[in-house]
């Protein structure tokens, strides 16, 4: 299926991409949305979203994602499950390369968001689902009365630690600095939770076990002193990484890999826009991603006319 007549191709089906698709489709632009994973983006893993306006009682992230998708396809947005692997400029056209073939369009909106950063240490991949987890809300229940570690020091990590403390016998937060990045209220909650203890200035070097995780190997940042900690679970929450690996050398990125745009969501290349979490200085919220998507779509329409 190679249709070269798209006016705009949107990469990513999270709040930014789905909103962009809603706007471009309603504007009558022949639009294709390319989604590499599951439609809805990161927000689908939020249990309850309480800060997306219009839902005074909150809404599950899963439902919000589904509703955004339904609204966009209602106006004719085409979607395909494929991962974008590159963009090439062909005179006035943009060729988007994907795992399901290449597609041409006059404009592209990149809304690939971000994904959880991995530690990239020995044992991490091997023990996924055997003690290594990236979702405390999903998996905390399997660690009842067991000792677990949380790696990270931001809001997400501390939220996970507090959730785990309801199940586990002991939660050790391992952070590479000597203070948390998490907000004050969360910090206070965590510091007063007797089951939570902190290991400061520590880095995890390796996750070990047999069939299941048994221990982690740690290193003190300053002294280099090594130690081990017996745990049954390791919850990794060390931040997000923008999905832009395939754009290196094509678009200007900031040092963390986010795409640089102006306030019209334009990148340096005419006709290529970026929206949502993938963008430099994004506020990383569902509503701001949706807002970016709308802005990008409106300036795409202007660019095409």
């Amino acid at each position: 299926m190679v249709d070269n007549n798209y006016e705009v191709i949107i990469i990513g089906g999270g709040p930014a991409g789905l909103t962009a698709g809603l706007y471009t489709s309603r504007a009558g632009l022949n639009s294709l949305l390319v989604e590499g994973g599951l439609v809805g983006g990161q927000i689908v893993s939020a249990e309850l979203v309480e800060n997306y306006p219009g839902f005074p009682d909150g809404i599950s992230g899963f439902e919000l994602g589904q509703l955004m998708y339904q609204q966009a396809i209602k106006y004719g947005l085409n979607t395909i499950i494929a991962e974008a692997t590159g963009i090439e400029l062909r005179e006035k056209q943009k060729e988007v390369k994907t795992t399901e073939g290449n597609f041409m369009a006059k404009a592209a909106i990149i809304a690939g968001g971000s994904e959880r950063r991995k530690l990239s240490i020995p044992g991490e991949e091997k023990f996924i689902g055997r003690g290594v987890s990236y979702c405390a809300t999903c998996d905390a229940t399997f660690f009842r009365e067991l000792s677990v570690a949380v790696v990270g020091g931001g809001d997400a990590a501390i939220t996970e630690a507090l959730h785990l403390a309801k199940f586990a016998s002991k939660v050790t937060v391992i952070h590479r600095r000597d203070q948390l990045r998490a907000g004050r209220i969360l910090q206070e909650k965590a510091l007063s939770e007797p089951k939570i203890q902190f290991l400061w200035n520590a880095i995890v070097d390796e996750i070990e076990g047999e069939d299941l995780v048994k221990r982690i190997k740690l290193r003190e940042v300053k002294t280099g002193e090594k130690s081990t900690l017996e745990v049954a679970g390791v919850f990794i929450s060390i931040g997000l990484k923008p999905n832009t690996d395939y754009l290196k050398g094509i678009l200007p990125l900031d040092t963390a890999g986010h795409i640089i745009t102006n306030d019209k969501m334009e990148t340096e290349i005419p006709g290529i826009f970026a929206a949502g979490d993938v963008r430099s200085n994004s506020a990383r919220q569902a509503i701001t991603a949706a807002g970016d998507g709308a802005t990008a779509a409106i300036y795409t329409e202007k660019f095409l006319s």
């Binding site: 689908v44 689902g129 809300t137 999903c138 998996d139 679970g233």
Partner: protein
């Protein structure tokens, strides 16, 4: 039968282990968002593979015994059994095409 059957600890042996055809068991829980994400995909696959592979669900919240027996430590976990033996174990939400491939491989 299309909608995957909910199986509890007491029925596990009979419905899963003694099944004539392979069975895919989706270990899930209602508070697990990635589980909800793949639920509609499993509904479709249950329909598509009807007669060749049964797809059933175990709510780990209510059926900790089965979850413990198979060392489930993350959900969704999808386990495929043939003749009472565990032959495949995948963890985490996957795309439909990937799940289809996993089932196809298990049926080989």
């Amino acid at each position: 039968m299309s909608e995957p059957l909910a199986v509890n600890d007491d029925e596990f042996d009979q419905i899963v282990l003694q099944s004539e055809i392979p069975v895919l068991v989706d270990f899930w829980a209602p508070w697990c968002q990635p589980c909800l994400m793949i639920a509609p995909i499993l509904d479709e696959l249950a329909e598509e593979f009807s007669g060749r592979m049964n797809i059933v669900r175990v709510d780990v919240d209510q059926n900790l015994k089965s979850a413990v027996k198979y060392s489930i430590m993350a959900i969704p976990s999808l386990l495929i059994f043939r003749n009472g033996k565990l032959i495949t174990n995948v963890v985490g939400a996957k795309r439909k095409q990937d799940l289809k491939q996993i089932i196809d491989d298990a049926l080989k």
